[in-house]
């Protein structure tokens, strides 16, 4: 569990919860969208759900890299969005865009404690993951070789590590959007949405 106390949350606790959610969310999307072979995923139990997590070493390394960095940005509340972009490798065309908007309560500091129901938060996170899983039904089939990238929207003035570089927003041309559920830790609010190419 991310937090030790049952009904009290701090900034770091909230950060850990959100980071955990991102970890499982990213993995679920990769599995559901078939970007990597299904046999490269292993089953784990989280929040009462059976989740699939990649066992690809390189991907794990990449996730560790991303999540640890995102954690620091969650802590100083400079992150606005986290976006997973799925692109066709051959044509470099963006076909899908999973967007997680993050609203941070900037009045919160390190010592602030909030009364919340951790169970409620976990229920909400679970329902978002379920919705991600369910959205496969309406998303178009990815019939060409695709790969993904993770974008982060941050404050303009933020100093980023040299391993990170600026990029474009990667809009989906001629897109259709679906808003998904959201959850809040009372410090961070995460609302999900998916944009995909309109089928002709």
């Amino acid at each position: 569990m991310a937090t030790s106390t049952s009904n009290c949350i701090t900034l770091s606790g909230s950060t850990n919860l959100v980071a955990e959610f991102f970890h499982y969310g990213l993995n679920s999307i990769l599995y559901q969208r078939g970007l990597y072979p299904p046999e490269s995923f292993t089953h784990t139990q989280q929040w009462g759900l059976t989740m699939l997590v990649t066992s690809n070493k390189e991907l794990q390394k990449f996730f560790d890299e991303i999540i640890s960095q995102v954690k620091t940005w969650l802590m100083d509340m400079s992150i606005e969005k986290l976006v997973i972009v799925i692109k066709e490798v051959g044509t470099n065309v963006v076909v899908e865009r999973w967007q997680f908007d993050i609203e941070s309560d900037k009045t919160v500091d390190k010592d602030t404690k909030r009364e919340v129901s951790i169970k409620q938060i976990q229920d909400d996170m679970r329902s978002v993951i379920r919705q991600i899983t369910a959205s496969v039904t309406f998303l178009p089939l990815l019939d060409k070789t695709c790969c993904f990238d993770v974008l982060v929207y941050t404050d303009k003035g933020l100093e980023v590590p040299t391993t990170w570089g600026e990029t474009t927003p990667h809009f989906v041309y001629n897109s259709e959007e679906v808003r998904l559920k959201s959850f809040t830790t009372s410090i961070h609010k995460v609302s999900a949405a998916v944009a995909f190419k309109k089928s002709d």
């Binding site: 692109k87 490798v89 990238d149 570089g165 927003p169």
Partner: protein, 758 residues
């Protein structure tokens, strides 16, 4: 000694022969290194033979005969020369011989010419052959090199293969050893296991026996224990009986203890009762003393009862009175409250009246404008109510006016009456005043008379004392009182007149007010009509505004929806937000991999194309095709090379540009810093010349010019500005030979000048 004679004639031949020989030698060296040196000499000396062909073998075959033949004639010649007899015959012979020799010489010369030609032909052919052979050789060399490289490659391959074989063998050995070891180990283990199993079996058997024994012993024990148990059961029955007895004894003891406790308690109670008894005795003694006093007390009690009754009556009376007082107080309070309320109401009434008047005033001003429809409607309501109230007040006022008119009439009548009374009074007062005047005159006269009489009396008094004074003075007093009464009457009448005139003025003002009020009613109606128009206008405006509001709301909703969509599409504010990603993300890696793969495929394609081309050119029969393909590939295609060069050029230019930018930036900074620190701006108008302009220069023309000579020394050039510092030049440049001092001096000087001027 024959050779010197022949030599001159042989000279050109020998030259050409030398050439030929050289060529032949080369040829020999190349072709046939194994041939005999002497044979070659023979070949070389063959210049008698006319038919010299390119065929080498023939030359070789023929040469020995000629070798034998040739030396004969010179030898003969020599022998004939040495004998020298003087006979003519001999001379003739010799002549003949000479002629023969000459002929021989001519023949030889011809031959030589032909040989020369042949030799030339041969040389040409040789050259050709040499060239062919060279090319052949080159090819062979190339082939050899190729073969060598192949061989090397194969050797390397072999080597690597051997190494691998070695390694594999080693590994195999290692593995076999390992497997053997394992096998041995396993065998050992198996043996151990079997041993163990046997041991275990033995052990188990032992144990079984032991257990059997144990069981037997246990059975015995059980028998013993059963007997013991029976004994114990008997004993326990006995014990039970004894324990029951003990229990009964215990119960008895407990009962006794309880009884003891009860007894103890009783004792305590008795002790306490005893103490109480003692106390009681003391109290009874006291009570006896009290009982003695009882009869007296009885009489007192009766008295007190009587008093009580009287007091009760009084109390009832007082109660009644109090009730009356309460009723009166309540009444008083009610009256007071009523009074207060009436006073409040009066105040309110006055306030309301004032407000009414103010309202009236405000309405006449008309400066108020309705702020909103609600206020307008309110105002209308107010106005309507005020209108109604005003109508009421108008009615009231009219009635008041009537009343006041009546009053005025009444007042006028009264006034007339009063005026007539006043006139009468005036008349009377004038009469009175006249009377007063007359009386005053009379008084004067009388006082004079009195004075005269006084004088007379004084004169008489001096003679006879007669008392007339008192009567006179009393008369005067009476008269004075009458005058005083008149005066008071007059004052009263005047006061009455004044009060009446003031009332009249009041009535007139009231009348005027009423008239004004009446007049004001009409304009108010007009204003209300204007208000109505304004209201209708405003209502229309409101309707328009509402419709606009609905439209704008719809637009806003649309825009909101659009914003939401844009947001979902991932739009952002570039002035506040930036988008970043991890550089080594999976997509970038995948793309890079793909590019690499593509590049590789392209290369492969290129190779295969070349291979195909070569195969097509040579009709499918080519040796070392891969080598050729690689050779071809190494020769880069010109377009690719150009592209490479272009990219290199572009990058070089870019670098240059950047360096220029950086340089210009740093130089600018440097110049600025120099200007700030030294107070001089440095310019380079032409090579090796430096122009310094001071920060404090008064004009732009005021500058110093320096030149650097090839030795590296800096010299001051003459300018108009520098000429104005002759003294400083003498001092600092010629005496101290210090340019910095000179520059400092100029700075100080210019600064002083500026501050002076400031």
């Amino acid at each position: 000694m024959v050779y010197p004679v022949i030599y001159p004639t042989m000279d050109p031949l020998s030259d050409s022969m030398d050439n030929l020989v050289g060529m032949k030698r080369k040829f020999d060296a190349m072709v046939n290194q194994g041939k005999d040196e002497t044979l070659r000499h023979n070949l070389l000396s063959d210049f008698e033979d006319a038919e010299v062909t390119g065929n080498f073998s023939r030359l070789v075959d023929r040469s020995p005969k000629e070798h034998i033949k040739f030396p004969l004639s010179p030898a003969q010649h020599y022998s004939s020369f040495t004998s020298t007899p003087s006979s003519t015959r001999e001379i003739n012979l010799k002549d003949a011989e000479i002629t023969y020799h000459k002929a021989c010489i001519v023949k030889l010369e011809n031959r030589i010419a032909s040989l020369q030609r042949n030799a030339e032909q041969a040389s040409i052919e040789h050259d050709k052959e040499i060239a062919e052979i060279k090319t052949l050789r080159d090819r062979e060399v190339k082939k050899a090199a190729d073969l060598k490289s192949k061989l090397q490659y194969i050797m390397e391959c072999e080597k690597t293969a051997r190494d691998e074989v070695h390694r594999l063998e080693k590994e195999l050995q290692h593995q076999t050893i390992e497997s053997n070891n394992k096998f041995l180990k396993e065998q050992k283990e198996r043996i151990e296991a079997t041993d163990k199993a046997q041991q275990a079996k033995v052990h188990w058997k032992d144990k079984e026996a032991q257990l059997y024994e144990k069981i037997m012993s246990q059975k015995l024990k059980i028998g013993q224990l059963q007997s013991k148990l029976e004994e114990n059961l008997k004993q326990s029955a006995l014990k039970k009986n004894s324990s029951e007895e003990v229990a009964t004894y215990k119960q008895k003891v407990e009962k006794l203890e309880e009884a003891l406790l009860i007894e103890k308690k009783k004792v305590k109670d008795l002790e306490s009762r005893f103490a109480e008894q003692e106390d009681n005795i003391i109290t009874t003694k006291a009570l006896k003393a009290d009982l003695d006093m009882v009869p007296a007390l009885k009489s007192e009690v009766e008295k007190l009862r009587q008093d009580n009754e009287g007091l009760r009556l009084n109390e009832q009376n007082t109660m009644l009175l109090e009730e009356e007082i309460r009723g009166l107080k309540n009444k008083l309070g009610q009256i007071d409250s009523l009074r207060e309320r009436s006073a409040k109401l009066e105040v309110e009434n006055e306030e309301l009246k004032e407000r009414l008047t103010r309202w009236e005033m405000k309405d006449t001003s008309g400066s108020r404008r309705p702020q909103s429809p609600s206020s307008l409607s309110k105002r209308i309501q107010e106005l309507e109510s005020t209108n109604a109230s005003l109508l009421m007040t108008q009615g009231e006022m009219q009635s008041r006016i009537n009343i006041s008119e009546r009053k005025v009439e009444h007042g006028e009548a009264q006034l007339q009456r009063l005026v007539s009374a006043l006139t009468m009074e005036k008349n009377t007062s004038s009469q009175f005043t006249d009377l007063v005047k007359r009386l005053k005159r009379k008084l004067l006269l009388l006082s004079k008379e009195r004075d005269a009489y006084k004088n007379l009396l004084d004169s008489y008094e001096s003679e006879v004392t007669v008392n007339f004074d008192e009567e006179k003075s009393s008369q005067i007093r009476r008269l004075e009182e009458i005058v005083q009464e008149h005066k008071t009457n007059q004052a009263e009448t005047e006061a009455e007149i004044e009060s009446l005139s003031s009332r009249l003025a009041e009535c007139q003002t009231q009348l005027e007010q009423a008239q004004q009020h009446h007049r004001l009613d009409n304009p108010e109606q007009q204003s209300s009509q204007q208000d109505k128009e304004a209201i209708t206008l405003l209502r229309e405006q409101i309707a328009v505004l509402e419709s606009e509001l609905i439209k704008t709301q719809q637009e806003r909703d649309n825009l909101d929806a659009k914003i939401e969509q844009r947001h979902l599409q991932g739009d952002y504010d570039p002035s506040k937000t930036k988008i970043i990603h991890f550089r080594l993300n999976p997509f970038a890696l995948a793309q890079k991999e793909r590019e690499e793969e593509l590049e590789k495929l392209r290369e492969d394609n290129e190779k295969l194309k070349k291979r195909n081309q070569i195969l097509e050119e040579n009709g499918g029969m080519v040796e070392g095709i891969t080598m050729q393909v690689e050779e071809n590939l190494q020769k880069l295609s010109p377009s690719k090379e150009i592209e490479n060069l272009k990219s290199q050029l572009a990058s070089a230019e870019m670098r240059n540009q950047r360096l220029k930018e950086v340089f210009s930036k740093t130089s600018k900074e440097f110049r600025e810093v120099c200007y700030e620190l030294t107070g001089y701006r440095f310019d380079i108008p032409c090579a090796n010349q430096y122009r310094l302009t001071s920060m404090y220069a008064e004009r732009q023309k005021d500058y110093l010019l320096f030149q650097q000579n090839p030795k590296g020394e800096v010299q001051l050039l003459q300018t108009d500005f520098s000429m104005s510092f002759q003294g400083a030049m003498e001092k600092y440049l010629k005496k101290y030979k210090s340019l910095p001092l000179f520059l400092c001096h100029i700075t100080m000087e210019l600064f002083d000048r500026q501050t002076m001027s400031l």
